[in-house]
């Protein structure tokens, strides 16, 4: 349904061209959930905005690539045609529910606006649909809440309203850009649960963007790991979490606190900083921070290569070499820890 081919989104700044998205390809089928993970500045949001064609142009430009949505290349559509797709076929939910609603209009009016933008129908019918949607996203007493203003709602409820707005036109794809980052953990779980049930009911495909691996593990079937504007590993949740074969993903996973960890050790972090996207490092972008890096990594730029049917990673190490190196590092760490004790 949506297919992205070798997409490049560069941003022209006074210091040089930032390669925010640098050759990303993936596709999504109806009803599927894809998770995109990566640290801040890895190009996740620029990628999402490219799909909506909402990156300000200029400074953003697309030197290469295609975003095919049902056969149409979104990069070549005119603003008017794009507007028909935005909200109607592809909708988006934002990170911060506190600032994503217009403070001066009632919740219900904003929902009706979303419905009436794409469908002409009598107001009474739109109102009915709006109340239905509010009920669908779990707002009790929707009839009454229809006339509330955003400031009368809590963060979780606002996120529900935003989901309702996103669903207003029954979109085929829902892009959720860090939908739970601004919410506390219990509300996070509720919102994720809600998104899942909505997906079952409406058959919407979801692209969930997050730096929270837990959220992605819970929601997604497929995962894309992004680093410095590229996909460095992609595969099913199983593959990514249990058959990790890219040092960056492995480091990310290791930097999570684990409830089942046997010793009270310090949280591991990834040394260094995300690369400068104007002058990316030579060879593999990750090599300055990679614990596995060899001299070869400074010159060879690895492309995504298959590890199994659906699983591919961008690293010069093969799976066996990687596993061996992994063991070596873990062993070394353990020894160091023992010395400390």
């Amino acid at each position: 349904m949506l297919e992205i081919k070798n997409l490049k989104a560069y941003i022209d700044t006074s210091d040089g061209v930032v390669k925010a998205v640098d050759g990303v390809s993936f596709s999504i089928k109806p009803g599927e959930t894809i998770g995109i993970v990566g640290e801040s500045g890895s190009g996740k949001s620029v990628l999402a905005h490219s799909i909506m064609q909402l990156n300000p142009k200029p400074p953003t430009f697309y030197p290469e690539g295609e975003i095919l949505f049902n056969g149409k290349n979104l990069l070549q559509l005119k603003e008017k045609e794009l507007r028909k797709i935005r909200g109607n076929e592809i909708a988006m939910i934002y990170q911060d529910p506190m600032s994503s609603l217009n403070p001066v209009f009632k919740i219900g009016d904003q929902l009706m606006e979303a419905i009436l933008t794409h469908h002409s129908m009598p107001k009474s019918k739109a109102r009915q649909r709006a109340i239905e949607l509010l009920t669908d996203v779990g707002i009790s007493d929707a009839e009454k809440r229809f006339n509330s203003y955003p400031h009368q709602f809590s963060g979780g409820m606002r996120q529900r309203v935003l989901i309702a707005i996103a669903l207003a036109c029954n979109p085929k794809i829902l892009i959720a850009d860090e939908p739970t980052t601004a919410l506390d953990v219990t509300i996070q779980a509720q919102i994720l649960e809600l998104m899942k049930s909505i997906q079952e009911k409406y058959g919407t495909a979801i692209i969930i963007i997050s730096h929270d691996l837990g959220v992605v593990a819970q929601m997604a079937e497929k995962v894309l790991v992004m680093y410095s504007g590229r996909i460095v590993e992609k595969g099913n949740v199983e593959d990514i979490f249990y058959h990790t074969s890219m040092p960056y993903t492995w480091s990310l996973l290791r930097s999570l606190p684990r409830i089942d960890s046997e010793s009270r050790t310090r949280l591991l972090n990834i040394e260094g900083q995300p690369p400068n996207l104007i002058h990316p490092p030579s060879g593999c972008n990750f090599h300055p921070r990679c614990p596995f890096a060899t001299d070869q990594c400074k010159t060879v730029d690895p492309q995504l290569s298959k590890r199994s049917a659906d699983h591919s990673a961008a690293c010069i190490l093969s799976e066996e070499e990687f596993n061996e190196a992994k063991k070596r590092i873990e062993k070394g760490e353990q020894e160091r820890r023992m010395e400390h004790v």
Partner: protein
């Protein structure tokens, strides 16, 4: 906002002045245009509260009638420059490409002192109420454009505007429904200030002799005529002067009041009734 005493007095003053000047013909004891040639330049008395001018006309009536022009000019200029300034400000703030063009024109206009610009325009167009309104609007709306533009720049980066774009809302709707209502408060406040400034500017223009034709009583015209008599009949200049000051001051105080009322951060300064601290009852065990 009117709950505060500080704002109530200027508000009442303006309302009273407006009502008085509209209904002046019905209640003034002496017609303001009646010339009592025996009573020229008389000091304030029980018959002529503010005294009389060099033609023996009642200065009280004149001062009240003169408020018509001042308020009319002030209000119209405020309204027109608000409309013009809001439209240009919204466009300049929202569309980056037009921003450069509009703002350079505005900067050019702001380079002239506003009164000087108005003076030159009135001198070129000729003095009449319409021309004064045109000239003052022309010199005051660039300020409004700046204010609106800067607020739009802030608001347009808030996520709900982007969220509206993502749901396919058209630009005109975004501008009128998402941005305009959220920048309304600085617009209203700035509008009040333009009101006050244009009353002052109109008086200044008339005083300089390029304003409204001398046959129409305005505060500026009165001051202009009274110049020569200032040592003989100081009340001739004092009373119109007091009215100009009072009106402008009232409008400025109201403007400040509006700003406080719209500014969420100044709400905390409101006097709250202090709740007496209740001590929890302690139960002895």
């Amino acid at each position: 906002m009117l709950r505060r005493k500080r704002n109530l007095i200027p508000f009442l003053f303006l309302i009273l002045l407006l009502l008085a000047t509209i209904t002046a013909e019905w209640w003034l004891p002496v017609s303001p245009s009646f010339m009592d040639s025996n009573q020229r330049l008389m000091a304030p008395s029980s018959k002529y509260w503010f005294g009389t001018d060099h033609f023996g006309r009642d200065l009280f009536g004149q001062t009240i009638i003169a408020a018509r022009v001042s308020l009319l000019v002030g209000f119209t200029v405020a309204l027109l420059s608000t409309i013009l300034g809001t439209i240009t400000g919204l466009i300049a703030g929202y569309y980056k490409k037009l921003d450069a063009i509009i703002m350079r024109i505005i900067d050019g206009m702001l380079a002239f002192p506003s009164l000087l610009l108005a003076l030159a325009l009135v001198a070129a167009l000729g003095g009449s109420i319409t021309n004064i309104i045109i000239a003052l609007t022309f010199s005051f709306w660039p300020v409004m454009t700046r204010v609106v533009r800067s607020s739009v720049l802030q608001v347009k980066n808030i996520q709900y505007v982007e969220a509206a774009k993502t749901s396919g809302v058209k630009d005109p709707v975004i501008l009128t429904k998402y941005i305009l209502p959220n920048v309304l408060s600085p617009i209203i406040v700035q509008g009040t200030f333009i009101f006050a400034r244009s009353i002052l500017a109109e008086a200044a223009l008339s005083f300089l002799g390029v304003g409204v034709e001398p046959s129409i009583p305005t505060w500026g015209n009165m001051l202009q005529e009274s110049q020569i008599y200032i040592t003989m009949a100081p009340w001739f200049s004092i009373f119109p002067g007091i009215f100009i000051v009072a009106t402008v001051l009232s409008l400025n105080i109201l403007g400040d009041g509006l700003r406080d009322a719209f500014d969420p951060y100044s709400q905390g300064k409101k006097k709250r009734k202090k709740q007496p601290f209740k001590q929890k009852k302690q139960y002895a065990s």
